[in-house]
């Protein structure tokens, strides 16, 4: 296993700077918010977030913002082209209009999995194609969370969403597999690509620190346990995030210079049930009767994934 040569080895090494003030409109226990909070510690305050419609739109509700940097709400499919416009304009002003380098901004997109996988997917692919110099932060809560938890292309097999409920006819709920956004983005060879988990703060911080020194498309998918949509107590968010990693369901990895490295590897993978059984969205797999075939299928897919690397 290749170890990242990041600056951080212990929690207490992490930057004390808080880039998001407390008291936002986001849900208690939102895993994605924790991920963004730590990411922004690494990126400094000279940034603009171009935001897609979604849960995180509630970060800035007029006339308040919890952010030290700038914020631009766009549309559900438009945060990445908005980032393109800001990047281009700053470059033009620095090159031709005497804007000083100290006025430059880190251009960041913050979008949910619905925007990232579905409505904003094409525009983001285009930005990677153009080599846009930006950071993309996808908080992946595996459904359209802000509208009450409907199926997105990131909803995993056998999760129940409002639009793929578990019924006698469709016992598994969601019957199709989660889109592999990491592999799709990887195919376009962005300069940097990583998955991060709020439960792995050192790994997350090292990745953002590394990305902050690179130029070009830097893509992040942040596992975002969602108390309201997944159905668990907010205080359990960290535990859920940990189980996602420990069961191997959520691989923590990076793609850099043509190589995929799993930066956090579960030593001995826990059975997937340990992750599933704690969430309401998977309750139908255990009650009223246990759906062994479905659970086995989930385990099999996880084993197959890791089998490629073991």
């Amino acid at each position: 296993m290749k170890v990242l040569t990041g600056a951080y080895r212990k929690i207490k090494d992490l930057h004390p700077h808080e880039a998001i003030a407390p008291g936002t409109g986001l849900c208690a226990g939102c895993g994605g918010l924790e991920g963004l909070r730590m990411a922004l510690k690494e990126l400094g305050d000279d940034y603009i977030i171009c935001n897609a419609a979604g849960c995180f739109t509630l970060l800035s509700v007029y006339p308040f913002t919890p952010l030290k940097g700038s914020w631009l709400y766009t549309t559900m499919g438009g945060p990445t082209p908005a980032a393109q416009g800001v990047r281009d304009a700053l470059d033009i002003r620095m090159r031709h209009r005497g804007l000083e380098e100290k006025e430059n901004l880190n251009v960041i997109v913050v979008a949910g999995d619905g925007s990232s996988n579905d409505i904003g997917f094409g525009a983001t692919s285009a930005a990677i194609h153009r080599g846009l110099d930006f950071i993309y932060f996808c908080y992946d809560n595996e459904a359209y969370g802000n509208t009450g938890f409907q199926l997105s292309a990131a909803s995993p097999y056998a999760s129940a969403t409002q639009t793929t409920p578990s019924t006698d006819v469709h016992e598994a709920g969601t019957e199709i597999n989660k889109k592999d956004l990491f592999e799709i983005w990887k195919a376009q060879k962005p300069v940097y690509l990583a998955t991060v988990s709020p439960r792995e703060p050192i790994d997350l911080s090292n990745k953002f620190a590394k990305a902050s020194h690179l130029k070009g498309p830097r893509m992040f998918i942040c596992m975002s346990p969602c108390p309201t949509g997944w159905g668990f107590e907010p205080k359990e968010a960290q535990l859920i995030a940990k189980l996602a990693v420990d069961t191997g369901i959520f691989p923590v990895k990076e793609y850099y210079e043509g190589e995929v490295v799993h930066t956090v590897r579960p030593r001995k993978r826990l059975p997937v049930e340990k992750f599933l059984e704690r969430q309401k969205r998977f309750r139908h797999l255990f009650k009223p009767h246990r759906q062994d075939v479905v659970i086995k299928h989930i385990q099999q897919r996880v084993d197959e994934y890791w089998g490629q690397y073991e």
Binding site: D45, D46, I48, C50, T57, L58, S60, V61, Y62, P63, F64, T65, L67, K68, G69, S70, W71, L72, Y73, T74, T75, G77, G78, T80, P81, A82, A83, Q84, G85, V86, D88, A89, L90, D91, I92, R93, H96, R97, L99, K102, E103, N104, L105, G122, A123, S125, A126, H129, R130
Partner: protein, 410 residues
């Protein structure tokens, strides 16, 4: 170019020249017929260093208008162009960026909307943007296209306005028609329209800000919408100021509307864009036959210059509002706006006829204008008048017969 020059330009080239002389710094682009010539021309000028800044090939009009808006919010002078389906595809972004209150100029080269898909012009595309908060200027000639772009930046960038502005020109009839266009010298243009400096805060490290944040509650939402409405209303005043300034410098004056043989006119055609030229030609021919016809051309379409329109139409007996657009089940889209403008005028016209013509580039000939006059003379006009006669029906039938979709009558 140091001194004024008269050169032959298509409507599209005139638009590109407008952007060039305005010293536009940023063009996000996406191709669509019949607009493509504009962005191709600009791409070349950015590539060879004639224009300074950046040309970015975007992935859709939705993305293009979004990038245009965010670049405007970051302090550069932005230009872009689209047409037809592209306008519809980008409409969400257009509503968004007008709310951002960023100045820019957008050219729409009018082309009819699917279905059926076609290339030739009518105005349903630009009318779809009617309510999104853009300032709109509609051009009849290539010179107007060029001049409106220069004036457009001046209006859009005025601190009392700060809104995107759209210049409309007709596909094919104007986009691909060459006309002589006077291009002023660079210094003259610079005196009228200096290099862009944003008057509102823009994105840069020293001035962090949250823009376009979500609002809760109707009061906050309405406060923002009211500001947008007031800004748009201001644009009528700023248009007038800009038009006078433009005349002083370049000798061409543009009122919010243009009148043609209107003073003693008994019949008035209300038209816009390139087909107004056909209307003017018809007016001349009708007058040769002793029919007192005249024409009112709409130029400033948003904000809607109700008073300017009503004051020139009042006192004329018969008015035909010719819409090159169709709201199925209702009729012409500008018709109710003209009627509303006239409602409280004491000497408003006796008759105001809604005419639908020129859809999908369908020509309007002298017979069409005579039909309008005849309809205005009827005691019961029926409405709206759809310019589609027996000859047109026969032509459509002929097509079906060629394809053997209809029996050929012996």
């Amino acid at each position: 170019m140091k001194t004024p020059k008269k050169i032959m330009l298509t409507g599209n080239k005139a638009a590109a020249w407008g952007a060039r002389m305005a010293r536009v710094e940023y063009v996000p682009a996406f191709p669509i017929t019949p607009q493509t010539e504009i962005v191709e021309t600009l791409a070349k000028w950015f590539a060879d260093g004639t224009m300074q800044g950046k040309f970015t090939n975007m992935d859709s009009e939705h993305s293009m208008f979004m990038a245009a808006g965010s670049a405007g919010a970051t302090g550069v002078r932005v230009f872009t162009a689209s047409s037809s389906q592209g306008i519809l595809h980008g409409l969400e972004s257009l509503y968004t960026v007008t709310g951002w209150r960023v100045p820019m100029v957008i050219v729409n080269v009018s082309r009819a909307l699917a279905t059926p898909i076609t290339l030739e012009p009518d105005h349903n595309d630009v009318m779809s943007t009617r309510d999104c908060g853009l300032i709109q200027l509609h051009a009849e000639t290539c010179q107007e296209v060029f001049d409106f772009i220069l004036m457009g930046y001046k209006i859009a960038e005025d601190p009392e306005v700060c809104l995107p502005l759209l210049v409309n020109l007709d596909g094919f009839y104007l986009s691909f028609t060459r006309e002589p266009v006077l291009i002023p010298g660079e210094d003259e243009v610079r005196n009228f329209l200096p290099l862009y400096t944003a008057t509102q805060p823009v994105f840069q490290a020293s001035q962090p800000m949250a823009r376009a944040s979500a609002v809760f509650g109707g009061v906050t939402y309405t406060s923002f919408k009211l500001q947008q409405e007031l800004a748009s209303r201001n644009a009528e005043k700023i248009f007038a100021k800009t038009a006078h300034d433009f005349k002083d410098r370049f000798g061409r004056y543009y009122g919010p509307v243009e009148t043609f043989h209107l003073d003693d006119a008994e019949y008035v055609f209300v038209m816009s864009n390139s087909f107004a030229t056909k209307g003017k030609s018809a007016v001349i021919k009708l007058r040769q036959q002793g029919i007192k016809a005249g024409l009112l051309k709409l130029r400033l379409f948003r904000p809607f210059p109700s008073e300017a329109i009503a004051s020139v139409l009042a006192g004329h007996a018969k008015v035909a509002v010719i819409d090159q657009n169709l709201a199925p089940g209702m009729g012409g889209i500008t018709y109710p706006e003209i009627v509303t403008a006239l409602y409280d005028k004491k000497n408003r016209p006796e008759k105001i006829l809604s005419v639908i013509g020129g859809l999908g580039g369908k020509d309007m000939d002298d017979q069409d204008f005579r039909t309008i006059i005849e309809t205005l003379d009827k005691s019961n006009m029926g409405k709206p008048l759809f310019l589609y006669d027996e000859e047109d029906a026969k032509n459509f039938d002929r097509l079906l017969k060629i394809a053997k979709l209809k029996e050929v009558s012996s």
